[in-house]
């Protein structure tokens, strides 16, 4: 493929990583984005990188500790996580997860209340215990998306921002060009990694990609004293202490939306900030006096089973479609590698991703969203 031109539709973390991996293989890459790289969910998430349920997990874990060096830019990646149980039920659930990690040889340690307080200075004696993952971790989403973009440019790739994709040109069973308001880009292959807009784009190629979009929210506090390990969550919220000290957390109810071809119309946050604040004040009681200084929302898409779709189509056969189904940031080093392999070799070199094929939804009911209750409020 050396010397050929690949267009990536969507400058989120998945598209940027794919572009970076392709550029590393000597492919000419152009990333088209409707606005600014990482502006949607890729730059607004919790930054977690511990996705043990994914076939991409081993590659995620292998790559993150190297990413700063590989990209040449800091991602703020930090290793390890501690989950704190704040109810008896959560403690039962987290121990269940811990047993699973032990069975699968993921290194963990169970912490009693005293050990939690030693490891997490902002925690209190109001918890039931914790699980320390000696794997996984977290990074700064905003810094990471920009790092991918810059690293891609350093390898000769192009980023074209403010250029929403409007359609495709096809010939001989292949996509030969990608159309934007500012012009058409000829290509040998296309990666469609446009998040909630994927169904609209793929429909133009006659391909049905079942995805439903929803809004989720986060809050952030002023800086707290640095804890030895920033990846502290549990109590059914997710998040981290940033390297600056801020506590950034999300979780809880989402709201299903319809997103049109132009992408999310807005990303409003709601009074849910109060429910996140409650849980964070319970999880880290010694931080309860800290000021919340922002809240925000992001829009993510989910497939019917909540697992990613990473697949190369049979027709047109030079198109790879990639949706990470609302869990894309942490897996991005690995998803980009998998997409690179599909584009260049037609198959993933490092793990079996048959589970992520689009064809698993061939017999999906037309009313799959209604059946799940994944409908917007009308």
């Amino acid at each position: 493929m050396s010397g050929s031109e690949v267009i990536i539709v969507g400058g989120g973390v998945t598209g940027l990583s794919a572009g970076w991996w392709l550029a590393r293989s000597g492919v000419k890459v152009t990333v088209l984005d409707k606005f600014i790289v990482g502006w949607e969910a890729s730059g607004r998430n919790g930054g977690g990188a511990s996705h043990y349920s994914s076939p991409l997990f081993d590659e995620e874990q292998r790559l993150w500790p190297q990413m700063d060096e590989l990209l040449g830019y800091p991602t703020e990646h930090q290793k390890g996580r501690i989950l704190i149980a704040m109810t008896e039920r959560q403690w039962e659930q987290y121990r269940f997860i811990a047993e699973r990690h032990t069975r699968l040889n993921h290194p963990i340690e169970l912490l009693d209340v005293k050990q939690v307080q030693e490891a997490v200075p902002l925690a209190g004696d109001n918890c039931f215990g914790g699980v320390h993952y000696k794997f996984g971790g977290h990074a700064n989403p905003q810094r990471t998306v920009q790092a991918y973009a810059w690293a891609l440019q350093d390898l000769g790739g192009k980023i074209i921002q403010h250029s929403p994709v409007t359609g495709f040109e096809t010939a001989g069973g292949k996509v030969t060009g990608v159309k934007t308001a500012n012009g058409t880009y000829g290509c040998d292959a296309v990666v469609v990694a446009a998040g909630p807009q994927i169904p609209h784009l793929m429909a133009q190629l006659g391909v049905d990609v079942p995805l439903a979009a929803a809004r989720a929210e986060m809050i952030i506090t002023e800086p707290a004293p640095m804890m030895p390990l920033g990846g502290v969550d549990g109590h059914k919220i997710y998040g981290r202490q940033t390297l600056r000290g801020n506590l950034a957390y999300g979780g809880g109810p989402h709201e299903w939306l319809d997103v049109d071809a132009n992408g999310p119309a807005a990303r409003p946050s709601t009074p849910l900030a109060r429910n996140l604040a409650k849980r964070l004040a319970e999880l880290l009681p010694k931080a309860a006096h800290l000021n919340v200084i922002r809240s925000w929302a992001g829009v993510i898409e989910n497939s019917p089973d909540g697992r990613p779709i990473i697949d190369r189509l049979t027709s047109p056969d030079n198109v790879v479609v990639a949706s990470m189904s609302s869990v894309g940031f942490g897996l991005s080093p690995a998803s980009g590698h998998a997409i690179r392999d599909l584009v260049i070799d037609g198959t993933c070199s490092f793990t079996n991703i048959d589970l992520l094929k689009l064809s698993r939804f061939d017999k999906l009911e037309k009313n799959w969203r209604e059946k799940r209750g994944w409908m917007p409020i009308s």
């Binding site: 699973r100 810059w150 709601t270 409650k278």
Partner: protein, 487 residues
């Protein structure tokens, strides 16, 4: 895994939010003269009216230059809430009239967010405003809302501006005329437009020493009668100047040096270059707003049930182009400030790192990132303050960007050689005032939300480890971790 769907996603927010604690026909935010008048009008027409004002704010907030730019020049009197409340009633006799008219008044109560359904959200039971006092937060429903949030101080960096004694004109006026709680004695005022002239004259009235005005342009900018009064008081206006250097000690600023070398001893520099309409709530609620240079910046565009009054709706239009004036000050600041002049005080972002788009000091700066700058970023598209914020952290601190957001936007315009109006307004987000977790928290959360709360979407097939698919562990996983959406 066989999933039997119930048709309802209990983990979605639908119907699980709490109802507001109270509902009013009209809520007025801000109990200045315009807000009080709007509240009295509302009550006179028979409406139920709630009037809230965040003042007196806590000493901690004042220390963070919130809501105004106090510059650490408030006396210990501002720590006494009762005394502050009394001072507010003394300075605003119309507050009593409003209460007599039937207006419910809450002082020391912050409006930190306004929420309503619209693009991207349909799950709110009704439009609500979030309120908080020193004890707790709560939500209040409304039919109409009037924003009388006033205007806040514009800050512009000069060498040494990040020390006590550098403050804004609105903050100085409030400390003097409302609270009698200003700790400075010798003041230099920056600017010569009406705000600067009025502030200098007020300071004189309060027996303070005004040791000079500094004007970046070559001629006086404000009302001729006010200029005359300044001249009569024997106060020098230094034209064509800005602050080139400053000297400070433990108590903050001690002296400044102008670009022409003039040395002025002072304990306070009052930045009176401009006021910015306080549109945080409007912007955070995705309300329409428009740039109006004659009225001091972005102002609310107005909606049927959302009105803005007083300076929140814009400064009085005298034909003066406030934006052009401020841009002159920022151009001068860019000439004078050293690369290590701090622009964002909360996050300690220097001018060089802002324009260089460099990460904060706790991160490494490999060669690749040192080669990046605003210039290289502009190759990818126009400057966006929110992107600069993400990369440099300027505006990300506890003052919520009040001290740097305006000047950063102006610097981006100048450095990218574009008109100010082409630079997007950096986003405002709720809570629009810093609010402690324990205050913001909804401690009496609805049980339906509590019962269905999931860390993410509550989709069991999303998290089953690949190794467990098709094994007995798969069902155990669902049973242990998920309930509700699936039978």
């Amino acid at each position: 895994m066989e999933l039997n769907f119930t048709g309802t996603d209990i983990c979605a927010v639908n119907g699980t939010r709490s109802a507001p604690e109270a509902k009013y026909d009209l809520v007025v935010i801000g109990a200045g003269p315009s807000g009080i008048a709007a509240a009295i009008d509302g009550a006179a027409s028979g409406a139920s009216v709630l009037l809230v004002d965040e003042n007196p704010v806590s000493g901690a907030l004042m220390g963070n230059d919130t809501p105004l730019y106090f510059g650490g020049r408030m006396t210990a009197a501002t720590q006494n809430t009762d005394r502050m409340l009394e001072a507010i009633f003394m300075s605003m006799p119309d507050l009593e009239k409003a209460m007599e008219a039937g207006v419910e008044l809450l002082l020391g109560t912050t409006a930190w967010g306004v929420y309503r359904n619209g693009p991207g959200v349909q799950s709110l039971p009704e439009q609500v405003v979030g309120l908080a006092d020193s004890e707790r937060s709560w939500m209040v429903g409304f039919d109409r809302i009037v924003l009388a949030t006033g205007a806040r101080d514009l800050a512009i960096a000069f060498p040494g501006w990040n020390q006590p004694g550098v403050m804004g004109a609105a903050a100085l006026q409030m400390l003097l005329s409302r609270y009698g709680a200003f700790s400075g004695r010798r003041i230099v005022v920056l600017g010569s437009h009406d705000l600067a002239l009025e502030t200098a004259l007020l300071a004189l009235e309060y027996g303070l020493e005004v040791v000079g005005l500094v004007e970046v342009r070559d001629a006086p900018q404000g009302d001729a009668a006010l200029i005359e009064k300044i001249a009569e008081a024997g106060i020098a206006i230094h034209y064509g100047q800005s602050i080139a250097a400053s000297k400070g000690g433990l108590d903050g600023i001690e002296a400044i040096t102008l670009t022409d070398g003039t040395h002025i001893a002072c304990d306070t520099v009052c930045v009176a270059i401009g006021l910015v309409p306080s549109i945080e709530l409007v912007d955070a609620m995705h309300g329409p707003r428009a740039l109006n240079p004659a009225r001091g910046g972005y102002i609310p565009a107005g909606e049927p049930n959302v009105a803005a009054v007083g300076t929140c709706a814009g400064l009085p239009d005298t034909g003066f182009d406030h934006i052009a004036y401020r841009m002159d000050w920022v151009r001068a600041a860019l000439r004078v400030n050293a690369p290590d002049t701090i622009i964002c005080q909360c996050e300690e972002v220097t001018l060089a790192d802002l324009i260089g788009v460099q990460p904060p000091n706790y991160l490494p700066r490999p060669a690749a990132i040192q080669a990046r700058s605003l210039g290289t970023l502009l190759d990818d598209g126009p400057a966006n303050p929110d992107q600069i914020k993400r990369l440099t952290r300027s505006g990300m601190g506890v003052c919520q960007g009040r001290r740097c957001r305006d000047q950063v936007a102006m610097m981006l315009a100048i450095e990218s050689d574009k008109p100010f109006g082409t630079i997007p307004l950096a986003s405002h987000r709720a809570p629009v005032r810093p609010l402690p977790l324990k205050i913001l928290a909804e401690w009496d959360e609805p049980t339906a939300m509590e019962a269905a709360w999931d860390v993410w979407f509550g989709i069991p097939t999303q998290w089953v480890p690949v190794e467990d698919i098709g094994t007995e562990h798969q069902d155990a996983h669902r049973e242990m971790l998920y309930t509700g959406m699936y039978k």
